[in-house]
Amino acid sequence: MIVSVSQLNNYIKGVMELDETLNLISVKGEVTSCKFSHGNLYLTLSDDDGQIDCFAFGDRTEAPEVGLNVIVTGRVRYLPRFGKISFLVNKIERADFGQNYLRFIQLREKLQKEGIFDLSRKKALPVMPRKIAVVTSRTGAVIRDITDVVRRRQPFSDILLYPVHVQGDSAEEEIVQGIKYFSENPVADVLIVARGGGSNEDLSVFNSESIVRAVAQCPLPTVSAIGHGVDFTLTDFAADVRAVTPTEAGELVTRDITVILSDIFRKVERLYNVASEVVKAEQYSLGRALYAMYSAAGALAEQRENRILNLLAVLSQNCGKLCDARSNRIELLLQRLSDNNPANILAKGYLSVTKKGDRVVSVKQLQKGDCVSVLLADGSADAVISRVEVDNETGRKHS
């Protein structure tokens, strides 16, 4: 018998609608996820072996706490369009905390007592790691987001992916193996353990003790990026740093190279500007110094020139003065010579007397009757002394 999908789905729906048990039933389970959307309540009830999605129309004001055991009353319905079963909830009653939640609390306390979550164990993330290890699914947005961020911010860094299933039966073992691989092989500088958003059930593997211990024991600095911001797992507490999203994980382990380069360029530009100013200032100082030297040398040459010319002037003046002085002296001497010239004396009417060739300078040299020669200005004559008389005042003899 061959039917279409729609026919099969409608058949299933019909069968379920006819089943009285499924039309009014109460189900007890642990709330493993719960959210409001468009005013309607969506929650998942789980136990150790299964889960069911529940839906309640938007006339509620509060949602049951995740981890609580609740009893929901309503009916099971089949959604032919999606091929899914959903439990339409009329009433929700609180039962107690579910086993999953209790196990979670007990494990958390145990690990806390061991100091697994102590802040003192946290390692600092490396600066600009070259090798970034990632344990996550090979497919999906998580590895793509991390890769995009790393390539944008630190294009020189390598991403080492250890692909794992992030939910399902094999997830726990694979994730532990991935973390241990990077713990035991020194091929990376930092480790990111990541998965995208999901229900609490989807994320619950990251509450497993083996993964938490593997993260805590990992020698590499670890970043957990599990689910979305509001989701917390024990792995997040064990990791050194928790990221809200895979993108943030990529940002936490990298530096934006463009910002760093920009900063470097700014600093280099500033250094260049400072150096330019210093060079300009030095050039200006040098120019001024050179000009000062030029001016000083020129002034000194002028000064020396003037000094030499002054000295020549002094020499000339002194020689001139000396010559004038000597000239005056000579004139005076000439005048004296002139005054003392015998011709000039004779011209005044004086005469020179000689007796037998000897000059007569006193009347005492003469007697009456002596023959003397008389020299006048214009000639000479012989004379006989007729009288000699001595001058009583001057002692001259009159004859």
Partner: protein
Amino acid sequence: MKLEENIAKLTELAEKTESADVTVQEAIESFKQGIVLAQQCLDEINGYKGQLVELKTQMDELNNDR
């Protein structure tokens, strides 16, 4: 320092001619020597001035190269 030495000598000559007991002959002789020294000094200074002009040109070229 030949220039400075010659200027010193020139100064000596000028001072000598200012002395009270210098003769005219000595003064004229000093003057003659002074002229010779002055000429040498001025020649040397002109040489320095020429170098200064050249250095100024080089200095201006350096400034223009900045």
